[in-house]
Symmetry: C2
Subunit: 329 residues, 2 copies
């Protein structure tokens, strides 16, 4: 019998098909393979093909290959621009605003063929530090209310360049889905006087059915009301609303965790395309007791029927308990 499950944070119901559960081999994912064939603007030597960098690290160990190990540059084709005033205007019943914001690219490595799953841990840690440092810098601009950190890996997940990179979009508004998560977490807090994510951590650790990786610093799990097959969250054990408060210990632990879960996905799902998003609290708001930053990873396994966008209604053919079992093994 199929089952309807409710996400305890947002209140969204999803259908979990328990009858004809799909195993990894039932999907035909597009395996991401990297072929250094065409000109790549992110490779060392082509630094003049991107706008000037806003951040660069030069790790000792990498000096031989390139003069940088991680670079952050403004997106050459930005969705938003930093210049200009935040001008809000009405037009009959409609509202519009200037597209003020920032759009940056984190070039994760000089190595065109590296992936987080195959990089060494120190390299992954460096990328996390770059995220942290850019958020700390961008939030000084009080117009920027939300920093979206995300990674599209593989063409199937929307990446237009294959050189390893992530993106940062700094927005003058808080996106609706993020606000919804925050509002849901606040309602739970008002009712229970506890953080819903902290409660999830406790219940998942006890049940152990949906846990994939457990460390002192992070719990990696397939969520109870997963929208997508093999959807996976990485939740810090320590309650903190803002990603940028991450500690040194957590950075190193997260870099191991990230590598491990992506290596597991590569193995179980044959190097799938994926989207990775950091969910964090709005930049200009103080630390909150109800929201808890975390990472969501969604491998692209199915050619999703776009009607989910229109209705917010998801049918997931792989119960998260099964997904977790495959990823644990």
């Amino acid at each position: 019998m199929p089952e309807l499950r409710k996400d305890p944070i947002t209140g969204r119901w999803v259908i979990i098909s328990t009858d004809r559960a799909r195993r990894p081999s039932d999907f035909a994912p597009e395996t991401v393979s990297i072929s250094r064939s065409r000109f790549c603007p992110f490779c060392p030597g082509n630094e003049d093909k991107t706008p000037p960098e806003v951040l660069a690290y030069a790790n000792e160990a990498l000096r031989g290959q390139a003069r940088w190990s991680t670079r952050v540059v403004p997106n050459k084709f930005p969705a938003l621009r930093v210049e200009g005033e935040l001008d809000r205007q009405g037009e009959g019943l409609y509202d519009r605003m200037n597209g003020v914001g920032a759009h940056e690219v984190v070039i994760e490595s000089p190595d065109h063929e590296a992936t987080i799953a195959t990089m060494d841990e120190a390299k992954v840690a460096e990328i996390i530090w770059a995220f942290r440092d850019r958020v700390l810098d961008l939030k000084k601009d009080r117009r920027l209310r939300y920093m979206m950190l995300f990674k599209n890996h593989g063409a199937g997940a929307g990446a237009s360049l294959e050189h390893p990179h992530s993106q940062i979009i700094a927005l003058p508004i808080v996106p609706k889905r993020v606000q919804e998560e925050i509002d849901g977490a606040r309602r739970y807090y008002e009712f229970k006087e506890r953080c819903v994510y902290c409660d999830i951590l406790r219940q998942e650790a006890r049940d152990d059915e949906r846990v994939v990786i457990r460390t002192e610093e992070f719990l990696t799990l397939c969520p109870f009301a997963a929208r997508f097959p093999f959807e996976t969250w990485i939740v810090p054990q320590r309650h903190e609303s803002h990603f940028e408060t991450i500690s040194e210990r957590e950075v190193y632990n997260l870099s191991w965790t990230l590598k491990t879960i992506l290596r597991k996905m590569d193995k179980v799902l044959e190097r799938p395309a994926f989207n990775l998003m950091i969910h964090t609290a709005p930049a200009q708001e103080p630390a909150s007791s109800h929201y808890h930053w975390h990472i969501e990873i969604i491998p692209k396994l199915t050619r999703v029927a776009g009607f989910e966008w229109g209705t917010g209604f998801f049918i997931n053919p792989t119960p998260p308990e099964e997904a977790a079992r495959f990823l644990r093994e």
Copy 2:
């Protein structure tokens, strides 16, 4: 300068890239082409390969080819089942419910290669009648609170069979995005004492910038805060919250409108895959002054970065004014 626009119903902001607006030729849509190669369970003669029909029309003109012109059958692999009680259960902080509901397939024509764009108007009208009749029947079951009517056209839009068909999912809950639209429309009504969709109809008809087709019964437009390039809505001129109240005159007008807009999309966008959704009010609720049923059509033109699901944040590279201009011509 890119622009942020707010959807007047849901309050969702989207980025409209006005700088580097993408024209139809900038997309590389996967053209949907139909090739009758493999065995098709929806073709005449294979009626025993589907569960027994719950509705069938036999149009005079079609009697030669098949004993039916439109057939509705339960989905052989349903996401939900009609049997059983609506059993709600808790499990720690989680909630689950039996997957009670219905999942039906509307086989739109005996002709494997027909599409709505190429069918004759009377045929399209018959499909709309089938939708209406199934909703009227399903809503007798008081457990079913929402009927989702949708069509995935082409593999790129999630269709697994190419024979022309649509789907009906009857749910024991109201999906979150639908509820959000209803709540947004209610807030507008409380504030203005007018329906937001009726106001949109008036403003769009006057501005004329985003209108694609205008008839006495329906306005077809690219919405102000379109999430996707060439996203198109068909809104009935007469205020009515529930689709199933559609009049005979409206059915015939809608069949012409649907054919016309899909033919235009086929021409301008090279037979794209698309999703079509009917947005209507919850089945068990009385007619409301604030909600207004309508159709949304989303051609699949870009390989969307899945992070939109995670954040609810959309970047649309084609301003709806441009999209409407291309579709009008």
